[in-house]
Amino acid sequence: DAMVIQNPRYQVTQFGKPVTLSCSQTLNHNVMYWYQQKSSQAPKLLFHYYDKDFNNEADTPDNFQSRRPNTSFCFLDIRSPGLGDAAMYLCATSRDTGLYTDTQYFGPGTRLTVL
Protein backbone atom coordinates (compact mmCIF):
# COMPACT_ATOMS: atom_id res chain seq x y z
CA ASP A 1 0.00 0.00 0.00
CA ALA A 2 2.82 2.34 -0.95
CA MET A 3 2.01 6.04 -0.96
CA VAL A 4 5.26 7.70 -2.05
CA ILE A 5 7.37 5.55 -4.31
CA GLN A 6 10.90 6.24 -5.37
CA ASN A 7 12.73 4.46 -8.13
CA PRO A 8 15.32 3.18 -8.17
CA ARG A 9 16.21 2.59 -4.52
CA TYR A 10 19.90 2.48 -5.39
CA GLN A 11 21.49 4.24 -8.33
CA VAL A 12 25.09 4.12 -9.41
CA THR A 13 26.34 6.57 -12.00
CA GLN A 14 29.66 7.76 -13.31
CA PHE A 15 31.16 11.15 -12.75
CA GLY A 16 29.57 13.55 -15.23
CA LYS A 17 26.98 11.09 -16.54
CA PRO A 18 23.42 12.47 -16.31
CA VAL A 19 21.06 10.62 -14.03
CA THR A 20 17.32 10.87 -13.33
CA LEU A 21 15.59 9.86 -10.13
CA SER A 22 11.86 9.39 -10.07
CA CYS A 23 9.13 9.80 -7.50
CA SER A 24 5.45 9.00 -7.71
CA GLN A 25 2.61 9.37 -5.23
CA THR A 26 -0.86 7.93 -4.78
CA LEU A 27 -1.94 10.55 -2.23
CA ASN A 28 -3.01 13.22 -4.73
CA HIS A 29 -1.04 15.78 -2.75
CA ASN A 30 -0.46 19.13 -4.41
CA VAL A 31 3.04 19.72 -3.08
CA MET A 32 6.08 17.59 -3.88
CA TYR A 33 9.58 18.08 -2.49
CA TRP A 34 13.08 16.84 -3.23
CA TYR A 35 15.61 16.66 -0.41
CA GLN A 36 19.27 15.73 -0.42
CA GLN A 37 20.58 14.03 2.68
CA LYS A 38 24.24 13.31 3.30
CA SER A 39 25.40 11.08 6.08
CA SER A 40 24.59 12.36 9.59
CA GLN A 41 23.22 15.62 8.23
CA ALA A 42 19.77 17.13 8.03
CA PRO A 43 17.77 16.55 4.88
CA LYS A 44 18.38 19.63 2.75
CA LEU A 45 15.56 20.93 0.58
CA LEU A 46 16.58 21.28 -3.05
CA PHE A 47 13.25 22.47 -4.50
CA HIS A 48 9.55 21.89 -4.32
CA TYR A 49 6.52 22.09 -6.55
CA TYR A 50 3.42 23.77 -5.27
CA ASP A 51 0.98 22.37 -7.82
CA LYS A 52 2.76 23.25 -11.07
CA ASP A 53 4.72 26.12 -9.60
CA PHE A 54 8.40 25.31 -9.25
CA ASN A 55 10.27 26.78 -6.28
CA ASN A 56 14.02 26.49 -6.23
CA GLU A 57 16.04 26.96 -3.06
CA ALA A 58 18.60 29.75 -3.43
CA ASP A 59 21.58 27.50 -2.80
CA THR A 60 20.53 24.58 -4.99
CA PRO A 61 23.17 24.14 -7.70
CA ASP A 62 22.16 24.59 -11.33
CA ASN A 63 23.29 21.03 -11.86
CA PHE A 64 20.02 19.92 -10.26
CA GLN A 65 16.81 20.24 -12.22
CA SER A 66 13.31 18.94 -11.69
CA ARG A 67 10.23 18.13 -13.69
CA ARG A 68 6.66 17.50 -12.64
CA PRO A 69 4.67 16.36 -15.67
CA ASN A 70 1.52 15.69 -13.63
CA THR A 71 0.27 15.57 -10.04
CA SER A 72 1.52 12.06 -9.43
CA PHE A 73 5.07 12.20 -10.76
CA CYS A 74 8.15 14.26 -10.06
CA PHE A 75 11.67 13.78 -11.39
CA LEU A 76 15.07 14.91 -10.21
CA ASP A 77 17.65 15.33 -12.96
CA ILE A 78 21.31 15.68 -12.12
CA ARG A 79 22.93 16.90 -15.30
CA SER A 80 26.58 16.26 -14.47
CA PRO A 81 26.95 14.40 -11.18
CA GLY A 82 30.04 15.08 -9.16
CA LEU A 83 31.50 13.03 -6.35
CA GLY A 84 29.97 15.50 -3.89
CA ASP A 85 26.48 14.67 -5.16
CA ALA A 86 26.60 11.18 -3.71
CA ALA A 87 23.83 11.16 -1.14
CA MET A 88 20.38 9.90 -0.27
CA TYR A 89 17.69 11.70 -2.22
CA LEU A 90 14.32 11.87 -0.53
CA CYS A 91 11.05 12.72 -2.19
CA ALA A 92 8.16 13.94 -0.06
CA THR A 93 4.61 15.13 -0.58
CA SER A 94 2.17 17.18 1.42
CA ARG A 95 -1.27 18.65 1.06
CA ASP A 96 -1.37 22.39 1.42
CA THR A 97 -4.65 24.22 1.07
CA GLY A 98 -3.39 27.31 2.79
CA LEU A 99 -5.64 26.56 5.73
CA TYR A 100 -5.10 22.92 6.44
CA THR A 101 -2.02 21.90 8.36
CA ASP A 102 -0.54 18.71 7.06
CA THR A 103 2.66 16.83 7.44
CA GLN A 104 4.98 15.48 4.81
CA TYR A 105 4.95 11.92 3.62
CA PHE A 106 8.33 10.62 2.54
CA GLY A 107 9.38 8.00 0.09
CA PRO A 108 12.07 5.47 1.04
CA GLY A 109 14.76 7.45 -0.77
CA THR A 110 17.20 6.73 -3.56
CA ARG A 111 20.81 6.30 -2.59
CA LEU A 112 23.02 7.72 -5.32
CA THR A 113 26.61 6.59 -5.71
CA VAL A 114 28.92 8.48 -8.07
CA LEU A 115 31.99 6.63 -9.31
Binding site: V4, Q6, V31, Y33, Y35, S40, Q41, A42, P43, K44, L45, H48, Y50, D53, N55, L90, A92, S94, D96, G98, T101, T103, Q104, Y105, F106, G107, P108, G109
Partner: protein, 114 residues
Protein backbone atom coordinates in the same frame (compact mmCIF):
# COMPACT_ATOMS: atom_id res chain seq x y z
CA UNK B 1 23.52 28.51 9.27
CA UNK B 2 21.35 25.83 10.83
CA UNK B 3 17.89 27.06 11.68
CA UNK B 4 16.96 23.81 13.41
CA UNK B 5 19.51 22.20 15.70
CA UNK B 6 19.65 18.87 17.44
CA UNK B 7 22.78 19.04 19.50
CA UNK B 8 22.84 15.41 20.60
CA UNK B 9 23.83 13.15 17.69
CA UNK B 10 22.99 10.08 19.76
CA UNK B 11 21.21 8.98 22.91
CA UNK B 12 21.06 5.64 24.71
CA UNK B 13 18.27 4.79 27.11
CA UNK B 14 17.31 1.67 29.04
CA UNK B 15 14.06 -0.02 28.06
CA UNK B 16 11.16 1.22 30.17
CA UNK B 17 12.82 4.53 31.01
CA UNK B 18 12.07 7.94 29.56
CA UNK B 19 13.77 9.16 26.38
CA UNK B 20 14.07 12.92 25.96
CA UNK B 21 15.15 14.29 22.60
CA UNK B 22 15.84 17.99 22.29
CA UNK B 23 15.60 20.48 19.46
CA UNK B 24 16.38 24.19 19.23
CA UNK B 25 15.46 26.62 16.49
CA UNK B 26 16.38 30.15 15.56
CA UNK B 27 13.59 31.35 13.25
CA UNK B 28 10.74 32.91 15.19
CA UNK B 29 8.53 32.68 12.08
CA UNK B 30 8.24 28.91 12.36
CA UNK B 31 4.60 28.16 13.14
CA UNK B 32 4.47 24.39 13.28
CA UNK B 33 6.89 21.74 14.52
CA UNK B 34 7.11 18.06 13.76
CA UNK B 35 9.05 15.02 14.83
CA UNK B 36 9.89 12.30 12.35
CA UNK B 37 11.27 8.85 12.98
CA UNK B 38 13.55 7.12 10.52
CA UNK B 39 14.56 3.49 10.37
CA UNK B 40 17.51 2.39 8.23
CA UNK B 41 16.70 2.04 4.52
CA UNK B 42 13.35 3.81 4.97
CA UNK B 43 12.20 7.37 4.56
CA UNK B 44 11.27 9.46 7.60
CA UNK B 45 7.79 8.85 8.96
CA UNK B 46 5.72 11.38 10.81
CA UNK B 47 5.47 10.85 14.56
CA UNK B 48 3.90 13.83 16.29
CA UNK B 49 3.51 17.56 15.78
CA UNK B 50 2.69 20.73 17.66
CA UNK B 51 1.39 24.10 16.60
CA UNK B 52 3.18 27.21 17.81
CA UNK B 53 0.05 28.26 19.69
CA UNK B 54 0.33 25.26 21.99
CA UNK B 55 2.93 24.20 24.51
CA UNK B 56 2.19 20.49 24.73
CA UNK B 57 0.81 17.73 22.57
CA UNK B 58 0.45 14.13 23.64
CA UNK B 59 -0.14 10.97 21.63
CA UNK B 60 0.16 7.72 23.54
CA UNK B 61 3.73 7.25 24.71
CA UNK B 62 4.88 10.36 22.84
CA UNK B 63 4.66 13.91 24.13
CA UNK B 64 6.09 17.02 22.52
CA UNK B 65 6.72 20.15 24.55
CA UNK B 66 7.26 23.58 23.04
CA UNK B 67 8.88 26.54 24.80
CA UNK B 68 8.53 29.44 22.38
CA UNK B 69 10.40 31.94 24.49
CA UNK B 70 13.41 29.64 24.57
CA UNK B 71 12.88 28.48 20.97
CA UNK B 72 13.14 24.94 22.23
CA UNK B 73 11.11 21.80 21.84
CA UNK B 74 11.52 18.32 23.17
CA UNK B 75 10.11 14.88 22.50
CA UNK B 76 9.45 12.59 25.44
CA UNK B 77 8.96 8.87 24.95
CA UNK B 78 7.62 7.02 27.99
CA UNK B 79 8.16 4.14 28.43
CA UNK B 80 10.89 3.61 25.85
CA UNK B 81 10.82 0.36 23.90
CA UNK B 82 13.50 -1.35 21.80
CA UNK B 83 11.38 -0.71 18.69
CA UNK B 84 11.81 3.02 19.31
CA UNK B 85 15.46 2.72 18.31
CA UNK B 86 15.76 4.94 15.25
CA UNK B 87 16.94 8.35 14.11
CA UNK B 88 14.60 11.14 15.18
CA UNK B 89 14.40 14.34 13.15
CA UNK B 90 12.97 17.57 14.41
CA UNK B 91 11.43 19.76 11.69
CA UNK B 92 9.87 23.19 11.58
CA UNK B 93 7.47 24.70 9.11
CA UNK B 94 8.02 28.08 7.57
CA UNK B 95 5.17 29.56 5.59
CA UNK B 96 5.98 31.92 2.77
CA UNK B 97 4.36 33.06 -0.44
CA UNK B 98 5.19 29.75 -2.05
CA UNK B 99 3.36 27.63 0.47
CA UNK B 100 4.92 25.67 3.23
CA UNK B 101 8.55 24.73 3.60
CA UNK B 102 9.94 22.31 6.17
CA UNK B 103 13.38 22.77 7.70
CA UNK B 104 14.98 19.74 9.32
CA UNK B 105 17.50 19.23 12.07
CA UNK B 106 20.38 16.76 11.62
CA UNK B 107 18.73 14.07 13.71
CA UNK B 108 19.39 12.22 16.95
CA UNK B 109 20.01 8.49 16.93
CA UNK B 110 18.12 6.86 19.80
CA UNK B 111 19.15 3.44 21.03
CA UNK B 112 16.84 1.74 23.51
CA UNK B 113 18.69 -1.02 25.29
CA UNK B 114 16.80 -4.13 26.45
Amino acid sequence: DQQVKQNSPSLSVQEGRISILNCDYTNSMFDYFLWYKKYPAEGPTFLISISSIKDKNEDGRFTVFLNKSAKHLSLHIVPSQPGDSAVYFCAARDRDNYGQNFVFGPGTRLSVLP
